[in-house]
Symmetry: C2
Subunit: 277 residues, 2 copies
């Protein structure tokens, strides 16, 4: 697979790159970002996947989450995928929370979405092949995190592939989408009305069913303007009921913005680094 | 003067706010951002002014420079002014480097700019009065920094008011605008063709004439795509010729982007904190 370099910038002694490739999964060009820390000059480094939220591209977290500083310090690579296929000919919806920018990290089975919206396969199979073939990143040392819709993606992916993702965390994840307006609409559109197909994409249901073999770190702001849609209490209850190792932290005064993500990014990167090195 | 709160977000235990007010200096509404660290809950804190570059608003550095983390840690407030007046009825130019977004931190004396483009007075007099009246910031402990056009502003302002700004630094400043296409056009437009009026707004000329009473910290990327316009060598030469205390650091591989600014922001904030506390 060929890879086009969109940009590369020096950042904290490493390189923040943006790349484009033709995706077979989505049938479109896809753009993603990779941060390589200075340690990548000497060999493979562990890698942390960061999945973004609704309306985001690869760029939001790359410019606003402040992760590079910590990745440089702890010798961790970062990957920032896009949140959906894009472009002319790709289906979309007028709502910000469906279609382009809102792939929800599932493989759509329904028209008109199924032709392009294969974000689960893209993030868990196609993009990993590409990045491990092209960058100094260690496929044996992967962690995953994300914000909001991306926190949903990180948790569901890690619980599905626990042997592949050795660490997982999330910032204000959409925690129980099958019971939320951030979920029911999208899962119906992408996967159809049979709710049994949704269970693989609901962190709370996955937590009840099987949990995660390692520790989980979740941060959630108490002043998040989307608490009713995120439903953190459902996941927190499932974690405690299961005795899931890890931490669910309510952070006083924080909202849903990148100011929140940035404030705790250092702790998340270090959390992953401890488990990946 | 009345102050409208546009937004407030929790950030690293402090508050990142955005505010709007009617400016007498510019005759327009002006928007600016203030970060208050946790220490501001207990009393006045020192403050670092951050002046932004061409095309920026108050928002770019607030979201991308990564300064809040360090400001929180060292107990420093941050102020991010806009780079020009804006809005309908305010003169503008098709070029990105003249008019709105490109105030150059001067008080225009020429038509059509002089009615609104009074950014020197705004940043050094009107906005300070407003922020020191309204926030827990210590007017006796001010430092100033900036990027590109904002580095130009920071250096010229600090050398003009050395008793007011106890510390100064800059990221890739426009260092010799009277000899650059980033400068000659704008100084002609705003101040007229008599170059003697420009001298107060050229860091290299001010350095030759009087320097700065404290130490100066300047970072400049070696791979900056605008080196020909920034003219760092002119300022570096003037600093050494004058035996100006401080550091002019060429940072290998860095360009002009916020990835560069972010990479050294921690050192700059700590540099100011050492001199303000």
């Amino acid at each position: 697979m060929s890879l086009e370099t969109v940009s590369e910038n020096r950042s904290f002694g490493g390189t923040q790159g943006v790349y484009r490739h033709k995706s077979q999964a989505t049938g479109t060009d896809m753009t993603f970002a990779v941060y390589l820390p200075p340690a990548a000059e000497d060999g493979l480094v562990p890698v942390l996947w960061y999945l973004s939220g609704l309306t985001c591209t690869h760029e939001n977290a790359m410019t606003k989450a402040g992760a590079q500083q910590w990745a440089a310090e702890s010798g961790i690579g970062l990957i920032f995928p896009d949140t959906s296929p894009r472009g002319e000919g790709v289906p979309d919806d007028d709502a910000y929370d469906l279609g382009q920018g809102a792939g929800f990290y599932v493989d759509a089975t329904q028209d008109p979405w199924k032709k392009n919206f294969q974000m689960w396969h893209y993030v868990t199979h196609e993009l990993p092949e590409l990045v491990f073939d092209n960058f100094q990143l260690d496929r044996e040392a992967q962690g995953i995190t994300g914000h909001s819709m991306g926190g949903h993606g990180a948790l569901t992916i890690a619980m599905t592939f626990p042997d592949r993702y050795r660490s997982v965390s999330a910032f204000a994840p959409i925690a129980n989408p099958s019971q939320s307006d951030w979920g029911r609409k999208q899962l119906t559109a992408y996967l159809g009305g049979d709710e049994s197909a949704w269970a693989a994409h609901d962190s709370t249901l996955l937590m009840r069913e099987k949990g995660y073999k390692g520790e989980i770190l979740i941060d959630q702001g108490t002043d998040d303007q989307f608490l009713e849609l995120l439903k953190p209490e459902a996941l927190a209850q499932a974690m405690v009921a299961r005795r899931q190792p890890g931490m669910f932290r309510m952070q006083p005064g924080y909202d849903h913005s990148y100011f929140f993500v940035q404030s705790f990014m250092g702790e998340h990167v270090l959390w992953h680094a401890e488990r990946l090195y």
